[in-house]
């Protein structure tokens, strides 16, 4: 894994390009899903929430898995950058998990007739959000950056057990929530003109997630190394 200066310069170089590309890709994908995809015969147009809800839910869970992986690297090999990555992902993952909860709640009203039920999928996703909040809180209350990185990494690793529970919750328990939209073992239950814009939205959300994490990484590096010569040289 590279050093802070080389990562900082790499982020600074690719960031503007990646930012504009991801924004354009996201706008195109959402336009495809919200305007061009056909209307669902059962749910009507309310199903279009899927183009925001599913990608944000996937990102909420993927973000946590990324945190656990980099948390492991931070704990085992004491790589400073891995700790920074965990710290950068936490608020972004929390935002996307909250977006998944809010969009699911808004979608629940026209389809289930209620904003919220204590369903296994919804409750386990709410626990994921609380885990993110706990990690963010750890980072803000522990003053030493190294100690905070390690504490956050431990919680990320312990909490990753929630991911298979969320994934399998619709199979293990009777739930109002439908089964998984994306599955590696079976073909999609939607037609291609709905599935492809959804896939495009997921990719766009991954890109925008990367952009936000990189911007937070850049901030994190500057905050930690603001007294070093290379940062001063960069901004002089």
């Amino acid at each position: 894994m590279g050093s802070s200066p080389s990562i900082f310069r790499f982020i600074s170089t690719i960031f503007p390009w990646l930012f504009f590309f991801s924004i354009l890709f996201l706008m195109g994908s959402l336009f495809w899903g919200l305007f061009l995809a056909p209307t669902d015969y059962k749910q009507g147009d309310a199903y279009r929430i899927i183009f925001i809800h599913v990608p944000s839910a996937i990102l909420g869970q993927s973000g946590y898995i990324f945190m656990a992986v980099f948390g492991f690297i931070c704990l085992v090999w004491r790589v400073k950058v891995a700790g920074m990555i965990v710290r950068s992902i936490a608020p972004v993952g929390a935002s996307f998990t909250l977006l998944a909860l809010v969009s699911g709640s808004i979608w629940g009203k026209p389809t289930w007739g209620t904003w919220w039920v204590w369903d296994a999928r919804l409750t386990s996703t709410l626990i994921l959000f609380f885990l993110y909040i706990a990690i963010i809180s750890l980072f803000s209350v522990i003053e030493s950056k190294q100690k905070a990185d390690r504490a956050g990494s431990i919680l990320a690793l312990v909490g990753v057990a929630i991911i298979p529970i969320i994934k399998k919750s619709v199979d293990w328990w009777q739930t109002l929530h439908q089964s998984s939209t994306f599955s590696l073992s079976s073909s999609p239950s939607m037609t291609a003109d709905m599935y492809l814009p959804l896939l495009s939205c997921v990719l766009a959300f991954y890109l925008i997630f990367l952009v936000i994490v990189l911007s937070r990484m850049k901030l994190e590096i500057v905050q930690r190394e603001r007294s070093t010569n290379w940062v001063k040289d960069f901004y002089s």
């Binding site: 996307f96 808004i106 979608w107 925008i208 936000i212 901030l219």
Partner: protein, 58 residues
Amino acid sequence: MNNLTLYNLLFMDGQGLFVWSVFVVLLFVLIWNLYIPYKKLQKIISTDFSDISERGKN
């Protein structure tokens, strides 16, 4: 695109309110997440490095 088509696209048979409110939440999340790190970085640059960049110009 005539007015009726635009109306149908936005209103979505009465379900547009749900879809567009989710869209607004998404916009808020994206703007918030992109703006906060930018603002914090600009603050550090203006407080810690402003004198350095001024010296660089001179």
